[in-house]
């Protein structure tokens, strides 16, 4: 990562602080008899949650909320160019915050390097600031609100507290899903009675997410960290295992987070959008993007790809649109050339497959589909190497070493027994998500048995180190 960053002990979903916080907020939420009180409670709780990361940055978030709130009302009231101007003000405010905190150092660093390359050393100053947590998520969610108001798909929200909660709702504040106002705002305003079925489903889903994070993702992290930091001395096969494990690590980490977020909201009777739909079972790269981080890919589709013309303006324009979407998607993930190259390569492969972003599942025989699914997974895995590496050169280095079938140490940071155990839990995860995708358990006895066994499994086999969720940095 460029710029100044550090890890601060904070209220991640896998922390004790979150466990206690969630218990208090949920019980308190259901103790309140009016929706007004509940909204205030959730907003204050969300402020506390966000401030547990870096307290001062609530002021930045608050600033953009105020701007977007008034911009939304003005957009609704205005017509013609004035309407457009208010939208642009809102977009500039949000993108401006992103530009300063996330991209300024990256661009300045590259400018300084360029001057040095041409023999005229310059040193434009870099900002020594930490990146506000989840910045890319809540700015995109805020932008979706003003765009939808501009498109007249959503009335402007007059209640400032409700709008603030739409941006700050703690389960999805720092790593999504990036919600749409049409889905969340009505739910926040409606009083919903306590529903045991929702509580059961929400808790079961939270535990499943916690299982993916603590038992799988953080276990695989030991292998990934080892292979990506000892690339030169590690054998090709071990490097390949490291890359494959990273594919599952990032999936279990991010989808585990999403499960906890969706589950936590569900306990309070709020339904958030799905973020993952078994992406590694995709038979081509286009389908993969319809299943991976759905809330972001659909954001780019709805607010960038389609407004640019989508596939309606000819093949050349479609290719350009796809390329631009993936370039910006890469840049969204971080101010580093690794993310840009990762995004561009995905764009390139989507174009090469000749499908549009809205392409549906392909049909074919089981064998062909299986081969295609494996090939897509291998391709995605190789592209993740760019995502995980410190820089582009290291990524190429890693790929070159995998492809050279070189000898070296086969040690991958864990024992053989733990390697086999890792494969077992990955298989369990894939099979469960394929064949039992629902989280609702109707029988109370089964629910309690599931609850108890998951807590025991997560405790005994979870890896508890202070690992943040990977997507928090974005």
């Amino acid at each position: 990562m460029n710029g100044f960053s550090y890890f601060w002990p904070c209220m991640t979903f896998n922390s004790l602080q979150f466990l206690v916080f969630f218990m208090v907020v949920t019980l308190w939420f259901f103790s309140l008899k009016g929706q007004k009180g509940r909204i205030w409670l959730l907003l204050l709780a969300s402020c506390y949650f966000y401030m547990s990361f870096i307290p001062e940055y609530i002021l930045i978030l608050g600033g953009t909320i105020v701007i977007d709130y008034f911009a939304g009302i003005q957009i609704e009231r205005s017509e013609g160019s004035s309407r457009r101007s208010w939208l642009i003000i809102s977009l500039i405010a949000n993108i401006g915050v992103l530009a300063v905190f996330k991209y300024y150092n990256f661009f300045i660093d590259n400018i300084n390097t360029s001057f040095l390359f041409f023999g005229k050393p310059m040193s434009f100053p870099l900002l020594k600031m930490a990146l506000p947590i989840g910045l890319s998520f809540h700015t995109f969610q805020a932008m979706s609100y003003t765009i939808e108001v501009y498109r007249k798909n959503q009335p402007a929200e007059r209640n400032f507290i409700v709008y603030s909660l739409y941006v700050m709702f703690y389960p999805q504040l720092v790593a999504g899903p990036i919600e749409r106002p049409q889905n969340v705002l009505p739910q926040l305003k409606e009083f919903r009675a306590y529903d045991w079925d929702n509580v059961k489903e929400g808790l079961a889903r939270m535990l499943w997410g916690f299982f993916k994070k603590a038992v799988i993702a953080d276990r695989l992290a030991m292998v990934v960290d080892r292979t990506f930091s000892h690339t030169s001395e590690t054998s090709s096969i071990a490097l390949f295992i490291g890359a494959v494990f990273y594919s599952f690590q990032i999936y279990c980490d991010f989808s585990g987070y999403s499960d906890i977020a969706i589950g936590a909201a569900r306990v309070m009777n709020i339904r958030l959008m799905e973020n993952f739909k078994q992406p590694y079972l995709s038979s081509n790269i286009t389908t993969f993007w319809g299943r991976w981080h759905v809330s972001l890919s659909s954001w780019f589709r709805d607010y960038l790809y389609i407004p640019l013309g989508g596939n309606r303006k000819g093949e050349a324009r479609r290719r350009f649109n796809v390329f631009l979407v993936f370039l910006l998607s890469g840049l969204w993930h971080g101010a580093n050339w690794t993310f840009i190259v990762w995004g561009l390569l995905h764009g390139l492969f989507v174009i090469l497959t000749g499908n549009s972003l809205k392409n549906a599942e392909e049909k074919g025989s089981a064998i062909i589909t299986t081969v295609k699914t494996v090939a897509t997974f291998v391709l995605v895995t190789f592209l993740w190497i760019f995502f995980r590496s410190q820089n582009v050169a290291s990524a190429f280095y890693y790929i070159r070493f995998i492809c050279s079938f070189k000898q070296g140490t086969n040690y991958i940071g864990i024992s053989h027994a733990e390697f086999l155990f890792s494969l077992l839990v990955i298989a369990i995860m894939l099979l469960r998500e394929k064949y039992i995708p629902a989280h609702f358990i109707s029988s109370n006895k089964r629910f309690y048995a599931f609850l108890f066994s998951m807590i025991v499994i997560c405790y005994l086999f979870g890896v508890f180190i202070e690992n943040q969720f990977i997507y928090f940095q974005f």
Partner: protein, 353 residues
């Protein structure tokens, strides 16, 4: 009834969050629970810090043997040396000053707590700056190396700290109305919650069970502790992670060594001017440096052998690497009796020169 339970849970959760945030409340609780052999007592680090941290103290090879103090130093001359140690956990626990030779007085300042040295100008004043290898590189980017000192007979310190906070740490700002945010958001809240919820003697067997599963099934320790490649030692994770500056294996740029040497020279000049007859640097190697030397970044030799280094060195790295006996405890970050004895012998030789 449900409502009552609900409100009790809310109050319990709020109280737990408040107590775990409040430094005063936590200090009170830590003191209150510092009672052994009770169910609410704290799990002490009696078994060796790493063995306790990883709950592997029931595994035979990591169990802590009973500590036997090294014998007293033999010295028959006139005692006229005042020894000042500016150190950390390696020297903090030396209570029996008869282990040093020829001391008229002994003074210790814990670097993490700070303090004032009162120089006795009638004595030969010797200073030892003892520092663990794992703190060495981080130390010079964050903390103050100069302690206050005063001469006997003066009322106050004659000189105060010179190097402070070389790199400013990010601190919480004050909000309008003088609300201090660090009183609301305690960065140690998760450790405090763990202390309040789980750190009880009666829960320890559960932690021991998980640790045993990890050890026997996966051959590793949990959390911040790792098992050495030969399975004989526990190491603190940060001392073996390649991307941590505390590590024995993290890359060591030459300019960083030069910068550290330069700082030590400044420190040496400072203390010599302050009136110390001699100042020594004693870097205590990480256990991993000695017990798993393959891939070592050579931090200690690089500093100790730098021709620019002015401060004199109490070198334990060399005798530790040559020792045929173990010099570290197997389940602890610190040296064993043999390791301490080697250090004491070198120190006593310097004191009686």
């Amino acid at each position: 009834m449900r409502h009552v339970i609900r409100y009790i849970c809310i109050l319990f959760g709020l109280a737990l969050l408040w107590i775990s945030t409040s430094r005063t409340a936590m200090q009170y609780l830590v003191t209150l629970r510092d009672v052994k052999n009770t169910w609410w007592g704290v799990d002490e680090l009696d078994h060796g810090d790493l063995a306790s941290l990883s709950y592997l103290y029931n595994i035979k090879q990591f169990a802590q043997p009973k500590w036997i103090e090294p014998e007293h130093a033999i010295f028959n001359g006139v005692k006229h040396t005042a020894l000042y140690i500016h150190g950390d956990s390696y020297t903090r626990f030396i209570k029996d000053t008869e282990q040093f030779a020829g001391l008229s007085s002994y003074h210790f300042i814990d670097r993490n707590r700070g303090g004032t040295f009162h120089l006795d100008t009638t004595q030969k004043n010797i200073l030892i700056i003892e520092i663990s290898e794992r703190y060495l590189r981080n130390y010079f980017s964050n903390l103050d190396i100069f302690s206050n000192f005063s001469e006997a007979g003066n009322d106050g310190p004659t000189s105060s700290s010179l190097l402070k906070e070389i790199t400013p740490r990010l601190s919480y700002a004050s909000f309008p109305g003088n609300i201090k945010l660090d009183s609301i958001f305690n960065v140690n809240i998760n450790q405090n919650l763990q202390f309040n919820l789980f750190n009880y003697q009666f829960i320890m067997p559960m932690f021991g069970c998980k640790a045993a599963i990890n050890y026997y099934l996966f051959h590793r320790a949990s959390g911040d502790v790792v098992i050495s490649a030969d399975k004989k030692f526990l190491f603190l994770k940060e001392t073996v992670s390649v991307d941590d500056k505390s590590s024995s294996y993290s890359p060591l740029p030459a300019d960083e060594v030069s910068a550290i040497v330069e700082r030590f020279n400044t420190i040496y000049d400072h203390y010599k001017q302050a009136g110390f007859n001699e100042a020594y640097l004693s870097i205590i190697p990480n256990s991993a440096t000695i017990n798993q030397p393959e891939g070592y970044n050579n931090l200690i030799p690089a500093i100790q052998n730098d021709p620019q280094l002015k401060i004199k060195v109490i070198d334990v790295y060399t005798p530790f690497t040559m020792s045929q006996e173990l010099v570290y405890q197997t389940g602890d970050t610190h040296w064993n009796r043999k390791g301490l004895k080697i250090w004491l012998d070198i120190v006593n030789k310097k004191l009686t020169e």
